[in-house]
């Protein structure tokens, strides 16, 4: 009986502590941008899911591809239907880790460099990535920012023959998330 009590207290304690260290947002922002000779492509998503565990350094993103807004509706439709095939692959995800989490004091205000490593999945293709970002800690929460490049070919996103060379093969991705303490 004693064993069981110890066990349950331990599990309970563990879950409580992990929750206390989780920061989350459901309306983070991700934008992408590319400037090809034919088309400048720009899209914004302001319904990005992101969560960070400050204890373990685990960080995850879940992005609904259909929530990317383009200036031209036709381009948005082409993006979903032909490029990223949103019906087949509705979400893009990142399952990663802040590798230098130990060096970041999440309880102290300030701006910290973060090294993030993990598995990025877009269009059903998973690649290991290693990118840099910053965390700005304030009383409002943790503000995470990052900017990195993604090669379309790495994720099997094909550009039609007619416009090859006219659309950039690499796009710039900007991440901007304001993470708040997770409450059940």
């Amino acid at each position: 009986m004693k064993k069981l009590v110890v066990l349950f207290t331990a599990i309970l304690a563990f879950t409580i502590t992990t929750n206390a260290q989780q920061f989350i947002t459901k309306n983070g922002k991700i934008s992408f941008y590319s400037d090809g000779p034919l088309e400048k492509i720009e899209a914004h998503n302001s319904q990005v899911n992101a969560a960070l565990n400050t204890e373990t350094g685990a960080i995850v993103f879940k992005v609904l591809m259909k929530s990317f807004i383009f200036e031209k509706a036709l381009m948005q439709e082409h993006f979903n239907e032909n490029y990223v095939e949103s019906d087949k692959f509705p979400n893009s995800t990142l399952k990663g880790k802040v590798t230098n989490a130990k060096e970041i004091d999440f309880s102290k205000d300030g701006t910290y460099e973060a090294d993030i490593e993990g598995e990025l999945t877009i269009h059903g293709i998973t690649k290991n990535v290693k990118e840099k970002g910053t965390f700005t800690i304030s009383k409002d929460g943790i503000h995470g920012e990052s900017k990195f490049m993604v090669k379309l070919a790495d994720f099997d996103i094909s550009i039609p023959g007619a416009v090859t060379g006219k659309i950039a093969e690499e796009i710039e991705i900007t991440v901007d998330v304001m993470l708040k303490p997770y409450k059940k």
Binding site: K3, F14, I24, K26, N49, V60, A73, N82, P160, V163
Partner: protein, 297 residues
């Protein structure tokens, strides 16, 4: 010893919790069932000739250039029909995501048209389940040919024609979309006694994607019998949507010369079996007049 045994399961559980931590974190985002609305049932606002359930996006102005050339069986002298053409220039504008208006002018009988299209239901699954998308399309046509019949009075009302359609479509998969189009057309004045003023028709159309960028479109309008003179045939069209980056071209073969519904549904004179086939195309250019809020700076 006993103490150690009681600690082991705790450690094991703690480790396993850590391993699945990232998947668990994904569950934090779960808000329960959401409604997933179908998009791109058809590539443009027309299947080929007739209307599809698609509307211009909110704040988008679309400039249409539509051509139906002459008949292929006119031979080399008429350059297989390319020497003649019926042309329509039109504008469509999306007032909201579900309501649009349009104007246009066809060279066929120098007809002006004004139209409205409204989405009534959208196909969706998830929290809200709807098997089909349903839209209403209506237009008024005004024939502006010079009046030559000296035995009649030239009433303005005699020049008017009206079209009402329900567009009922389902996207079965990313490759196949089908549409049924019950149609009611009223003409204030008709050419002969054999033609009724009111014509009921049922259209059926579909899109079959051959690749991510090319689709085969078929369209047929069945005019309920004995409402039009014998020399009229049902309209049948075989076409292709070709998407090139930012534009969609629609190329097709049809037995209809007319471009708007009141012309091609009850008044198609061509017979496919005799080779009365017109080559035609639609091209359009979209202007974004109202930018999405993400682009307003």
């Amino acid at each position: 010893m006993k103490k150690i045994f009681s600690i082991i399961p705790i450690i094991l559980i703690a480790i396993s919790l850590n391993l699945v931590a990232q998947d668990d974190m994904m569950d934090l985002f779960d808000d329960g069932p959401t409604t997933d609305y179908t998009y791109a049932t058809f590539k443009t606002t027309r299947i080929s000739l007739g209307q599809s359930v698609e509307n211009p996006a909110n704040g988008n102005l679309i400039f249409d250039i539509q051509h139906h050339f002459g008949r292929l069986n006119e031979g080399a002298y008429e350059f297989f029909g390319l020497d003649q053409a019926t042309l329509r220039l039109g504008l469509q504008y999306g007032i909201t995501d579900w309501l649009s208006v349009g104007i246009g002018r066809s060279s066929f009988e120098k007809t002006y048209d004004g139209s409205v299209k409204a989405k009534l239901f959208r196909q969706s699954k998830g929290a809200k389940n709807m098997p089909v998308s349903i839209s209403y399309f209506g237009n008024i046509g005004i024939n502006t040919l010079k009046f030559t019949d000296t035995t009649r009075t030239d009433y303005f009302s005699s020049r008017l024609t009206f079209v009402n359609q329900l567009l009922i479509a389902r996207k079965f998969s990313s490759a196949i979309s089908l549409q049924l189009t019950p149609t009611f057309i009223h003409r204030n004045l008709v050419e002969t006694n054999a033609d009724d003023n009111d014509v009921w028709a049922l259209g059926a159309g579909g899109r079959f994607k051959l690749s991510n960028r090319i689709s085969l479109n078929l369209e047929y309008y069945y005019v309920l019998s004995k409402q039009t003179a014998k020399d009229f045939h049902d309209s049948f069209t075989v076409g292709f949507d070709i998407e090139t980056g930012g534009h969609v071209f629609q190329l097709f073969f049809t037995n209809s010369r007319g471009i708007i519904e009141q012309h091609f549904i009850p008044r198609t004179t061509g017979d496919w079996l005799k080779g009365d086939i017109h080559f035609g195309f639609n091209i359009s250019r979209t202007f974004v007049l109202k930018k999405p809020k993400e682009f307003k700076e």
